[in-house]
């Protein structure tokens, strides 16, 4: 702070006067300033102006120009009450929701899979937590995976931090993280072979699991464990005592697999023996006349041909099934066509939901006739229940939106604002909407791991819904005007969603509205996420000693 000039012919600097007004000068200096301002009109005027400025500032700041926002008022209500029963209610609702989800989606799949020979396990368990897939998941825990999980934990902490106290948030996230690590025991020793044509030779015996990748992967010897293979052609002529998990263009099993075969790719051809089950995601699966599968075949893809012997059932979602061999269990197909040839034998019930009745040779031996259900496309428009379901779905969406908006009001509001950046959100929406599932798939089949992959996929799937909700809120704002309050915004979202839902019901073009809105919304969400993940630039606080402004101190202004 500058000196108070002794010479009354000079004016006091503004800083000194401000400190005087603020009562920050010591007594002696205060007296000097007081004496000076009694004699100097200019300084007195400035002093008075500074005092008035202080009062104006205080008045402007203290004025109640805005009521307490409704969100804070609700928070107040929550704070008044004991939180125990609210948490009980929240967890109760969450449990109910999880149960509803299980009974609506997972359980039917589980039952179907059980019918197809995957008894005693549900879909998620089957895919992730049991058998060879789980063991494989355990054994591919790498630094990369740990880092990926830490990243997830960090994101979780970021999310929860805004809702609950930091200590609790960290405890919650890290408890979950530790649980995951506890569930997955330490990795066991495994063998890896790569190169152009990795091979387990005829006279070779591998004890334990093996990972193989290359253009042509061959197993001619014995593997006493599981095989994880990725390559263009995968050929198994030897003996695998565990499971085969693979991804590639062509899988040929000419030898023996004691466990399951699970894979994704173009063609799976089995001319040898698979003692347990086959699950295939891809174009075609063929069990040749010499082929034998002890369990079931489950397929999601195009065509399935069974010329050999199948110990249990077929579960098929795709285009066509051809049976010219023996199926000891039943068949459940949802697809386009089914053909059972002259040599075909089916020991269990056959349920076929398709576009045309199954073609069954008169010489085929069936335990029971084919139970056929015609897929009646577009019939729904004439069906009253279709509209009831539309209303139920719309209500469910609105409820979902309500929960999300209430849970993340700022995020939701920012997302709605971002939708108005039409080009950026639409472009980013297409990019993320298409890219995320691909990334999830890559994560599933690479070292990043199934856990990350499936989590990413679920995130993408949820964002398809959230995207529509965000766009619905924008439509609502177009109709009813803008708002920054959360509940009016939810109201607009509900109105907008009803309108959007009506658009999606238009025959032939409804899907354009649906996916257009979803991708547009995903883009807007991505923009917000991107903005929030921007790195924070370290602030530059002044640390050096203060140098008084040169032009301020006691300028030679005439009194």
């Amino acid at each position: 702070m500058s000196e108070v000039p002794k010479d009354n012919g000079k004016h006091l600097d503004e800083m000194t006067l401000l400190l005087y007004v603020e009562r920050q000068l010591d007594r002696a200096r205060g007296m000097e300033v007081s004496a000076h301002t009694q004699e100097c009109d200019t300084c007195r005027t400035l002093l008075r102006a500074l005092e008035r400025e202080s009062r104006l500032l205080t008045r402007a700041m203290l004025e109640e120009d805005e009521p307490l926002p409704s969100r804070l008022a609700q928070f107040q209500e929550r704070a008044r009450k004991s939180m125990q029963w609210i948490w009980g209610l929240v967890f109760g609702l969450a449990a109910t929701g999880a149960y509803a989800l299980y009974t609506s989606y997972i359980q039917p799949w589980q039952q179907q899979l059980e019918q197809a020979g995957f008894g005693g396990s549900n879909l998620l368990g089957l895919l992730i937590f049991q058998g060879a897939m789980w063991k494989g998941w355990q054994s591919v825990i790498t630094l990369l995976e740990v880092l990926a999980m830490l990243t997830l934990a960090g994101l979780g902490a970021l999310f929860f931090r805004r809702r609950i106290r930091r200590g609790s948030a960290l405890a919650l996230v890290f408890a979950g993280f530790c649980t995951v690590l506890t569930v997955a025991p330490a990795a066991s020793a495994t063998e890896y072979r790569g190169g152009q044509s990795p091979t387990v030779n005829k006279d070779e015996s591998i004890k334990g699991d093996i990972y193989m990748s290359g253009e042509r992967v061959r197993i001619e010897g014995t593997v006493e464990g599981d095989v994880f293979a990725a390559g263009k052609d995968i050929e198994i002529d030897g003996h695998v005592t565990g499971d085969v998990i693979c991804a590639g263009r062509l899988l040929q099993v000419r030898g023996t697999v004691d466990g399951n075969v699970r894979g994704a790719g173009n063609n799976g051809v089995i001319s040898g023996t698979v003692t347990r089950n086959v699950m295939w995601f891809g174009d075609a699966v063929t069990v040749e006349s010499t082929g034998k599968v002890g369990g079931s075949v489950t397929m999601f893809g195009d065509t399935m041909a069974i010329d050999g012997h199948l110990g249990r059932d077929i579960l098929f979602f795709g285009t066509e099934v051809n049976v010219s061999g023996v199926v000891e269990g039943g068949i459940r197909e949802k697809g386009h066509a089914m053909t059972i040839g002259a040599n075909g034998q089916v020991g269990g019930p056959i349920h076929f939901e398709g576009d045309k009745p199954a073609e069954v040779s008169s010489s085929a031996k069936l335990a029971s006739p084919v139970e056929f259900k015609q897929i009646e496309r577009r019939k729904e428009y004439r069906d009253g229940s279709y509209y009831i379901w539309q209303v139920i779905w719309a209500a469910a969406y609105i409820l979902f939106g309500l929960v999300l908006f209430a849970l993340m009001p700022n995020f939701a509001e920012e997302a709605v604002k971002s939708t108005e950046r039409y080009g950026a959100s639409a472009g980013l929406g297409i990019l993320v909407g298409c890219g995320l599932p691909i990334a999830a798939l890559i994560a599933c089949v690479t070292v990043v791991g199934l856990f990350i992959g499936i989590s990413t996929f679920f995130l993408w799937y949820a964002s398809l819904y959230f995207g529509q909700i965000v766009v619905a809120a924008l439509i609502g704002q177009w109709l009813m005007g803008r708002t920054q309050e959360i509940w009016p915004l939810i109201g607009r979202m509900a109105v907008g969603f009803v309108l959007l839902r009506l658009c999606t019901m238009i025959p032939h073009v409804g899907w354009v509205f649906k996916y257009g809105a979803a991708f547009w919304g995903i883009g807007a969400i991505s923009l917000v996420v991107y903005r929030r993940l921007q790195p924070v630039i370290a602030p530059g606080m002044p640390s050096g000693p203060y140098t008084p402004p040169s032009a301020t101190v006691g300028g030679a202004v005439p009194a």
Binding site: E22, A49, A60, L72, M83, R162, Q484
Partner: protein, 194 residues
């Protein structure tokens, strides 16, 4: 310094410390409007202010045991809010807005007293609030701490992480920024004393 019309809530604080939800509700009811207004003045958006208010009260649960009941509760609460808001701004780069080295190093011109008086006389509270929104984060934060919550120079220095002797400079610069914003013209704001 206290929330308007509120006497020191010693008994409520004691109950709140013991985990009484009703007492928490009472504290929130009494102090949330004042804290919200503090945050609203200090932070760039209304949403930030809402978030900050909730976070301050959530933080309060953990910090209430640190409160020295011989001192003013509202003063202490404003200090918690100020630290929280400043942390929020620091975590973002908002704090750097308008606070580049260029602005820091600009010399302050001596104002023309009569022009300054005229400027203050002509401006309404509403205009001052609008002008506050245009200030850099530190300038606004300093003004809010001083003229809204009446924090001492020591407390402001502590919250902003600057030396006490620098607080006056921060406030003076903030006032100059405010005048510029009120005028909408840098040349007019200082008044051109020379």
């Amino acid at each position: 310094m206290s929330a308007p019309g509120i006497t020191e809530p010693t008994e409520v604080i004691t109950r709140a410390r013991a985990g009484d939800a009703e007492a928490w509700g009472q504290l929130y009811h009494d102090y949330a409007p004042a804290i919200f207004r503090f945050c609203r003045r200090a932070l760039p958006t209304r949403e930030d202010a809402e978030d900050a208010t909730m976070e301050v009260f959530m933080k309060l649960k953990g910090k209430l045991n640190q409160y020295d009941s011989t001192r003013s509760f509202s003063a202490w609460l404003y200090k918690v809010a100020a630290n929280h808001c400043w942390d929020m701004l620091r975590r973002r780069k908002i704090r750097q807005d308008k606070e580049t080295g260029d602005l820091e190093n600009l010399p302050l011109e001596h104002p023309d007293p009569s022009q300054l008086e005229k400027l203050i006389e002509e401006r309404s509270s509403e205009e001052v609030r609008r002008a506050l929104d245009k200030l850099g984060a530190r300038a606004r934060m300093a003004l809010v701490m001083r003229y809204y919550s009446d924090m001492s120079y020591d407390e402001i220095a502590d919250a902003l992480g600057v030396r006490r002797a620098f607080v006056g400079v921060v406030l003076l610069r903030a006032r100059h920024e405010l005048r510029q914003a009120l005028e909408g013209n840098a040349a007019l704001a200082a008044g051109g004393a020379s």
